[in-house]
């Protein structure tokens, strides 16, 4: 699939960014992504099934993630689960989003909107 232009994807929707972060350290299935997001946000963000899979559908089309043909976890008992992995393009998109957020944070500090670090 042809990758879209990186800039056209920014800013990333919150759910997409969360999914990218969840997939940063290892490949995961949907439920695991949801759990990881909930843990990292102290239960503040609960991705619902619809939001999660609608985002996954879009991220697959955009080439941010890819689906694995085999389960990466040989011990997994449930063959129905589908696993997703971050692509290089996905990693670049996440980095670009972080840069964008950092730049905004700096501006907020510089303008005195919030106390500087």
């Amino acid at each position: 699939m042809r990758e879209p232009k990186l800039e056209s994807l920014l800013p990333l929707p919150t759910a997409v960014f969360h999914i990218l972060i969840a997939l940063a350290d290892r490949d995961r299935h949907g439920y695991s992504i949801m759990q990881d997001v909930a843990t990292r946000t102290d239960g503040k963000v609960h991705l619902s099934a619809g939001t999660l899979y609608s985002s996954i559908r879009r991220m697959l089309e955009q080439g941010l993630i890819e689906e694995l043909s085999d389960s990466p976890d040989p011990s997994s008992t449930d063959e129905r689960r589908r696993y997703y992995r971050l692509t290089r393009f996905g990693r670049r998109a996440a980095a670009a989003e972080v840069d964008r957020l950092n730049a905004m944070l700096k501006q907020a500090h510089a303008s005195g909107l919030v106390p500087g670090a």
């Binding site: 299935h29 609608s54 996954i56 129905r80």
Partner: protein, 907 residues
């Protein structure tokens, strides 16, 4: 838990099938785990929040996913259209023609029958008490429902009503006025006399200046309000138009205001240039007082409108208006001595009707034609849709392998149908948009054609919500209906056999049956359109060549209105005689004569008569048309006399009163007796009672046509204008020239100038121009029918060509084998033509039945040609067969050129 999960499964059904197939199980698994965990750890609050999120997802995410799929399908459809531009162009053009023709006719129907009066607030409160379809004037007495009211009757309702918040009256005809600004030449405009409350009741405000008010019914107000269009045209929108004064007959009127753009007043399809208070009538239309009535005669000439008060019902208002009318009639006819006649005169009533769409004379006249045209364009749309269906079927067949492949890769049939239907919808929408522009063009052409018969007719192509909804509905119906069947067919397959079939090049019999039936249907639908077009075209020809009873070549008609220039009846007679003498002397004039009504001017006169020895069966049986004519009228016009002599110079005011009658008169009133020497008595009702004038019949003229091309010639009698039976105020000169365009008209203008420079020529035209309005509606209908017939034929030919080309391409292998086995090219062509003939024959048989019904339906529109005219029927059938065979000849010829080895190698 199980029940919860089945509820969630039901929610999942709200997502598009493709998304559900891909992620449904994952979502289900995830939800089950979340639900289990919530029950274990969180309790009811956690569970409720989970459900809340699931429902919220269904409401927000599912529609987004649907849109995503549709968007993809649309993109795919556009790409596949671009990949096959020929297919797309034919499909879109077919639909655009069908939808365009329908939009045009529908918006014409909508504009005439339904559209509210422009710029009038709350049109639903507006009612009228007279007949919206009638315009004109009636002097005398009436019975039954009143088409118009008198000025006095309007005043009575205006002053006594409790049901209406306001009542107004307007002149029922739109007048053509000759006016003159100081220092300028005569100019012509359309004007209407209206009562003071006109603008207030219609709720309109001036764009500049002011409008006259109900006050104008009580005080002489020599003012005029002009329309926005006239203001722009005549004054270029300058504000100094206000205060300008013009002369209209005996009135000198000052422009006080301009109505806003779009405002046309109370009559649909007419756009007056100027409105003048009714109270100005004696000056604006001099020679008669229509504002006051004195027994025994009423002058009925006004339409009456009202706006209902809040809470007032139409029924109550009607009852009130009738009781006021009755009281007025009782007072008016109180002095009539005969009891029977008095009760007759009281049998009159007003009928209340909604007037939000305004009055319109045109509406009734065109409703039959428009209904017929709507039926015709409906057929056209069906043919266009059949084309679309056929094209989609053919294309579906060529994509069978693609569909089979996708099915075998796991796509659901529903998904494929959805995509195919989206493709046909996209075609339909593009076709609909193109159709809208074609509709605009067709509508403009139609209005121009109607204008030829009614020069005051104005109607705009407006995309009002109704027209838009109609186009949208037609477009969607066409896309859905005619996309579904081919989509169903294209996806009805089991993957293996379709893939095999594709490599073998065979065709599915079921689909072929469909396409062949559709082609036959197209031909069947085209036949009635062609036959009706042929019948209407012959009607038009017959009307244009109708026998009038006198030669029409090199005949000029020049009308003059002496009343405008301030002449009374007696002076008018002298004036017309003077003009006649001068016109006769103009070089290039072969013969000239004149009469009060002229021929085909739209004017006619009729009155009650008495003929000795004739007993009328009913009241209507005692009336006859009449005309006042100049010397040697019949010989100058070229109407042969059957008996006796023409009207002569010597038949002047001092001589014995004489008349010439036509054959219809002789047949009806003399029934075989010799009319020469018998008296004919004209009974004219005047203020001083009935005046009888007797004329001795001195001649019988052959029947000739003056008012209608179709109807039987009515009884008529003709007496010298020098022995008038009514007041003389206008005349039409009938001038036959020695050659075409020999400049006689310049001489006529000079003659007018010499007699009286202030005398305007009302109109000057050749006989062909004069008669055009009588043939124009038929010409318009015939032109439209012929155009639609051609479109139908073209669509059917395209359909046939497409299907046959496709069919033959599929049979290349079979044909190649035939040729390899020794079949000659001629034999192959013959075989294909034979097969096509069956389709055509089927179409002709079904079409024959439709044609019979359609031709009978339009029988009343025909003239001089029978609905089952064999020439037209044969011609239409031959044309259809020729075009059909022509359309298949190219593919057939191509098939006969198939090189067997090459074709078989491809197999």
């Amino acid at each position: 838990m199980m029940r919860d999960l089945s509820v969630f499964r039901a929610l999942l059904r709200c997502y598009p099938a493709a998304f559900r197939d891909e992620y449904g199980n994952q979502m289900f698994l995830m939800f089950a785990e979340q639900l289990g965990e919530a029950r274990r750890t969180g309790g009811p609050l956690e569970t409720a929040s989970l459900w809340g999120r699931a429902v919220w997802d269904t409401l927000t995410i599912a529609p987004k996913e649907h849109w995503h799929v549709t968007f993809q399908d649309i993109r795919f459809a556009l790409r596949s259209m671009a990949a096959r531009p020929g297919f797309a162009a034919i499909a879109i053009l077919s639909l655009a023609l069908g939808i365009g023709a329908n939009t045009a006719i529908f918006s014409l129907w909508n504009g005439l029958m339904r559209a509210p009066l422009p710029m009038v607030p709350h049109p639903e409160q507006l009612v009228m008490l007279t007949d919206p379809a009638e315009s004109g004037m009636w002097h005398g007495n009436a019975t039954g429902e009143r088409p118009w009211v008198t000025y006095a009757e309007f005043e009575q309702l205006r002053d006594q009503t409790t049901s209406f918040s306001a009542v107004m009256a307007t002149e029922s005809t739109l007048d053509r006025w000759q006016i003159r600004y100081r220092g300028s030449d005569w100019e012509q405009l359309h004007g209407r006399l209206v009562s003071g409350a006109f603008f207030q009741l219609l709720g309109v405000d001036p764009i500049i200046g002011r409008l006259f008010t109900p006050e104008a019914d009580h005080v002489d107000s020599p003012v005029a309000v002009i329309s926005y269009g006239y203001w722009q045209r005549r004054f270029g929108g300058r504000t100094d138009a206000l205060g300008q004064t013009f002369t209209l007959r005996n009135a000198s009127l000052t422009i006080i205001g301009v109505t806003p753009p779009g405002f046309i007043g109370e009559t649909a399809g007419q756009e007056p240039d100027v409105w003048v208070p009714l109270r100005m009538q004696p000056l604006a239309i001099p020679g008669e007082d229509r504002l006051h009535e004195s027994p025994p005669e009423k002058a009925m000439w006004l339409h009456e409108f009202g706006r209902l008060k809040d809470g007032a019902t139409a029924a109550r208002a009607e009852a009130e208006a009738n009781s006021i009318l009755k009281a007025g009639l009782q007072q008016f006819y109180g002095g009539v001595p005969e009891a029977e006649r008095r009760s007759d005169t009281l049998d009159q009533f007003l009928k209340i009707r909604p007037a939000g769409i305004g009055a319109s004379e045109t509406r009734g006249g065109f409703s039959t034609s428009i209904t017929a045209l709507m039926a015709a364009v409906g057929l056209l749309l069906l043919i266009a849709c059949a084309n679309l269906a056929n094209l989609l079927l053919a294309r579906g067949a060529s994509r069978k392998a693609e569909m089979a492949l996708r099915l075998s890769l796991g796509a659901s049939r529903g998904r494929l149908i959805r995509q195919l239907v989206t493709e046909s919808l996209v075609l339909a929408v593009v076709g609909g948009l193109t159709g809208m522009s074609i509709g605009w063009l067709i509508h403009r052409a139609l209005v121009r054609m109607i204008l030829q018969s009614d020069e005051q007719f104005r109607i705009h192509f407006s995309l009002d919500p109704m027209v838009l909804a109609f186009t949208l509905a037609v477009t969607l119906a066409a896309g859905l209906l005619f996309g579904l069947l081919p989509a169903w067919q294209a996806t009805r397959t089991d993957a293996g056999s379709a893939l095999k079939e594709q490599s073998r090049g065979g065709g599915s019999m079921g689909r072929m049956r469909w396409t062949r039936s559709l082609v036959s249907l197209q031909l069947a639908l085209s036949l009635p359109l062609l036959v009706c077009a042929g019948l209407l075209a012959r009607t038009m020809y017959n009307l244009q060549h109708a026998e009038l009873g006198y030669p029409t070549d090199r005949l000029w008609l020049v009308s003059v209105d002496s009343q405008v220039a301030g002449y009374n009846s007696q002076r008018s007679g002298i004036l017309f005689r003077d003009l006649f003498d001068r016109i006769q002397r103009i070089p290039g004039v072969r013969t000239a004569t004149f009469s009060y009504n002229g021929v085909f001017t739209g004017s006619s006169s009729s009155d009650e008569i008495q003929v000795d020895g004739y007993t009328p069966k009913t009241d209507k049986d005692r009336s006859s048309r009449w005309d006042m004519v100049g010397p040697r009228f019949f010989s100058a016009l070229g109407v042969p006399l059957r008996l006796g002599r023409d009207i002569l110079e010597s038949d002047d005011a001092t001589a014995k009163k004489v008349c010439v009658i036509n054959e219809a008169f002789a047949r009806k009133f003399f029934a075989g007796r010799n009319p020469l020497g018998s008296p004919v008595t004209l009974l004219a009702e005047t203020h001083s009672g009935i005046v009888k004038t007797s004329y001795e019949v001195v001649g019988v003229a052959r029947d000739y046509r003056t008012n209608s091309l179709r109807d039987a010639v009515r009884p008529g009698f003709y007496f010298p204008m020098t022995q008038p039976g009514d007041s003389v105020k206008r005349a039409t000169y009938l001038i036959r020239t020695t050659a075409v365009n020999n400049g006689v008209l310049t001489g006529v203008r000079q003659a007018f100038q010499a007699v009286d420079p202030a005398l305007p020529i009302l109109s000057a035209s050749t006989m062909e121009q004069q008669i055009a309005p009588w043939t124009a509606p038929n010409r318009a209908t015939a032109q439209v029918a012929v155009a639609f017939g051609c479109i139908a034929l073209a669509l059917a030919a395209i359909g046939l060509y497409g299907v046959l080309s496709y069919n033959i391409a599929r049979r290349r292998g079979e044909i190649a084998i035939r040729i390899a086995l020794g079949a000659q090219p001629g034999g192959v062509i013959g075989m294909i033509l034979r097969e096509t003939s069956l389709l055509v024959l089927g179409g002709l048989v079904v079409g024959g039945g439709l044609t019979y019904a359609a031709a009978r339906w339009i029988a009343s529109e025909l003239f001089g040609v029978a609905p089952q005219d064999p020439v037209v029927l044969t011609l239409a059938a031959v044309l259809l067969v020729t075009v059909a065979l022509g359309a298949v000849f190219v593919p057939a010829w191509r098939a006969s050129r198939v090189a067997p080895m090459e074709a078989l190698r491809q197999e």
